[in-house]
């Protein structure tokens, strides 16, 4: 403390610094509930000491601006985990709709409507009943009505799956525009950050960019690359550039093979997006893997049951003594041309129950051996190496296991997101207690400085009056 004047400048500097720090606290408190806001702390800097005659005198402190408390690594990990969680969550929602079509029959009601497992059993049991009285017209009618129920339920389930698939397609299409507006915003923020604060802390601009990144992470899988001057590049997880510092590249979509495909430039990245993560990843996985696999299972079931039952019916003699021929087949189900699509188009074409061939070819109409053969189809490996019931049973088990697996993944990923969020909040969130304590400290410091200022004022007055005491209030 060289002179009284320098003491004045030191103390007024302290008052300024406290004032500035207090305004940072005020800003923190005001933004405590702003999404994406990162808490800021004052940056104190000691002024260069002044050296007079070999003695070093301190020159006080300045507050050189707020610094955001952020951890980029933590934020990036949070984004990555968010991508996984959003992906599994979108997939889980889709799978829940799929499994709602195959509600297990509790057995409390006589039979749940629409339960394909029960329909299969009823259909083949109706042939077993026909064994008892092969000419009985009510038993024959029962065969046709149970066949109609089976075909109706299978084709309804397949049609619902197709509807769900197009709904997912629509939803995925809708994500594109959100992705594009976010990448555009990130590119713009990059420009601002790079021009205004190439070296230092970008504060709220960076908060906004981080907020956009975490929103983008909910939509698609991304990688972030820090570039010079505080810039940022964003690529898809497969490496397709979406944002390069100040410029963004549009994600476009177009129909291909009956579904929406996604492109950057001319590169089709649909498959990479599906495995990349984010909501879009989950939607595409459900659209391109889960639902087609369920549909394919139903197709196989429908195709094999229809063709095998038709073939067996054509091998026998109906109540009129007629045996089916290639030209005039006695088909119960519409004969599917190929496996794909056979579930949707499964239907009963036979109108006259007397055309059911209960008797073997060449036998009298009272014979039941072909009805027995039809009933026995239920116990033969006619669908994918399994009996129809076993096939359906393993289908529901597999579907249930898939849903349950995705559910478990989703729960774990959400827990992990929550944990990372907690860690990030602990560092970057505004803690009101902290701020209250800081404010209290700064106020005390401000009061102390103003007290010193008052004393200096007295000393200064005394000096100006050359030692004569004057009352200073």
């Amino acid at each position: 403390m060289g002179t009284i004047n320098s003491a004045f400048s030191l103390i007024s500097g302290a008052l300024d610094a406290d004032q500035s720090a207090l305004s940072i606290v005020a800003n923190n408190v005001a933004n405590a509930n702003t999404p994406g806001y990162t808490t800021e702390i004052p940056n104190w800097q000691e002024n260069q000491p002044v050296s007079i005659n070999g003695v070093s005198y301190g020159d006080g402190v300045t507050e050189s601006g707020a610094v955001s408390l952020r951890d980029r690594v933590l934020e990036e990990r949070l984004d990555q985990q968010q991508q996984l969680a959003s992906s599994s969550s979108a997939r889980l929602t889709a799978l829940n709709s799929v499994q709602a079509l195959f509600v297990p029959d509790s057995g409390t009601a006589s039979a749940t409507a629409g339960d394909i497992g029960n329909d299969i059993t009823s259909f083949f049991s109706s042939f077993a009943s026909l064994e008892a009285a092969p000419t009985n017209s009510s038993l024959r009618q029962e065969v046709l009505s149970s066949a109609t129920t089976l075909a109706g339920d299978v084709s309804n389930a397949a049609a619902s799956l197709n509807t769900q698939r197009s709904a997912l397609d629509q939803e995925a299409f809708g994500v594109t525009s959100q992705v594009n507006s976010l990448t555009g915003a990130i590119a713009q923020l990059n420009q601002q950050i790079q021009t205004t604060t190439p070296d230092g802390n970008a504060g709220t601009l960076e908060d906004q960019r981080q907020q956009d990144l975490s929103q983008l992470s909910q939509l698609i899988g991304i990688n972030q690359v820090q570039t010079e001057n505080n810039g940022l590049s964003v690529t898809t997880t497969s490496g397709q550039l979406l944002v390069s510092e100040g410029s963004s590249f549009q994600l476009t979509s177009g129909p291909l093979g009956g579904v929406t495909n996604f492109f950057v430039g001319t590169t089709n990245i649909t498959a990479q997006l599906a495995s990349g993560g984010g909501q879009l990843g989950g939607l595409l996985t459900a659209r391109d893997q889960d639902i087609p696999s369920a549909l394919n299972t139903l197709d196989q079931l429908a195709y094999n049951v229809s063709t095998k039952v038709n073939a067996q019916n054509n091998a026998g003699t109906d109540l009129a003594g007629v045996t089916g021929t290639a030209a005039n087949p006695l088909n119960i189900f519409s004969q599917p041309a190929a496996i794909a699509g056979s579930a949707v188009s499964m239907s009963v074409v036979m109108a006259d129950p007397n055309q059911i061939a209960a008797a073997a070819a060449g036998q009298g109409t009272g014979d039941n051996s072909n009805a027995t053969a039809m009933a026995n189809l239920a116990n033969q490996a006619i669908v994918g190496g399994q009996t129809p019931t076993d096939f359906y049973s393993s289908f529901v088990s597999t579907l249930g296991a898939t849903v349950s697996g995705v559910q478990a993944d989703n729960t774990a990923q959400n827990a992990s997101v929550t944990q990372l969020q907690s860690q990030n909040n602990a560092l970057s969130g505004v803690n009101l207690n902290d701020e209250a304590a800081a404010m209290s400290t700064l106020q005390t410091s401000y009061q102390a400085a103003s007290q010193v200022f008052t004393i200096l004022n007295t000393i200064m007055t005394s000096a100006l009056n050359l030692g004569t005491e004057t009352a200073v209030t």
Binding site: S106, G107, G117, A132, N368, S369, T389, G400, V403
Partner: protein, 303 residues
């Protein structure tokens, strides 16, 4: 390390979890079903399909066996009638063959046997629900018709040799019919109808060729033996059917029990879980209420 300042939102997350848990448990309680979607227990859902399949097969077999047992009973009682008639015919013929009867009595025996022949033929043409039961697979064709063009009359079989079986759920096969030819035509001269027709011819004139009549009576006895043998087949089927039905019923009971265990909610367990979850929810709500008061911030302590 600092505390996450947004702990209240985390607590609200836990509250949501507790509530969805309660919803699930309440749904289980109200429906009585433990598994409402495949993902709750994929293995049980698969198992359920198989169990229901077996239960339904058993159920359908029980219905079939009721239908079939009626047909078998009718066949058995028809064959019983045939046996009675044939026994009477043999005793009439034996009386006529011993040479003590006069011509008028012998002609009367002939006409009685002729009546028996008609009765047996009508029994052989027994139908059940409009289907001839002794016609093999030709159930819509009258199996036995008699031509009166020659002497003796000739009864022909119009059915076939087809035998129907009913399969039980465990794969056993139960014979449902015996072709009429096997019962009534026997082998060669052991035909019931040939023997009866011959006897009618033997006695029609009033004078008896004793040797021929005795041989024809003998043939009728042998034919009666065949009928009885084949009646045993039908009786066996009835016994098998009853045994199979019993087995199926008891298996159905077991399967239904297993299926119930698999799918039904254990009310005591679910209620306990529900009560636990509700306690948890109340506790969370209390914690949130206390923490969420703004007065808890340090700012409120500053003057």
């Amino acid at each position: 390390m600092r505390v996450d300042p947004s702990y209240v939102s985390n607590l609200v997350g836990s509250l949501d979890q507790a509530q969805s848990n309660e919803q699930q448990l309440t749904a289980e309680l109200s429906s009585g079903v433990a598994i409402n979607s495949l993902s709750q227990n994929p293995v049980a859902a698969g198992e359920n399909v198989l169990l229901l399949n077996q239960i339904q097969q058993d159920d359908s077999f029980t219905q079939s066996s009721n239908l079939v047992s009626g047909q078998l009973q009718v066949a058995d009682s028809a064959l019983g009638g045939v046996v009675t008639q044939l026994t009477q015919a043999i005793s009439l013929a034996t009386g006529a063959d011993n040479g003590t009867l006069n011509a008028a009595d012998i002609r009367s025996v002939g006409s009685q046997i002729s009546g028996i022949l008609d009765e047996v033929q009508s029994l052989a043409n027994t139908s059940y629900q409009g289907q001839y039961i002794f016609a093999g697979g030709q159930t819509s064709t009258t199996p036995f018709t008699t031509s009166t063009n020659g002497t003796p009359n000739v009864t022909t079989y119009n059915g076939d040799q087809n035998v129907n079986y009913l399969s039980t759920p465990n794969g056993q096969k139960i014979q449902l019919n015996v072709p009429g030819s096997q019962i009534f035509l026997g082998a060669g001269s052991n035909s019931v109808f040939a023997a009866l027709n011959s006897l009618v011819a033997d006695y029609s004139s009033g004078t008896v060729n004793t040797t021929q009549a005795i041989s024809d009576t003998q043939a009728l006895s042998t034919a009666l033996g065949y009928v009885s043998q084949n009646r045993v087949t039908i009786d066996n089927s009835i016994t098998q059917l009853t045994a199979a039905s019993d087995a199926v019923t008891s298996s159905q009971t077991q399967l239904t029990g297993a299926q119930t265990n698999l799918m039904q909610a254990d009310v005591a367990e679910v209620s306990t879980q529900l009560s636990l979850s509700e306690t948890q929810q109340t506790a969370l709500e209390d914690v949130i209420a206390q923490l969420d008061q703004a007065s808890n911030s340090l700012f409120s302590k500053l003057q």
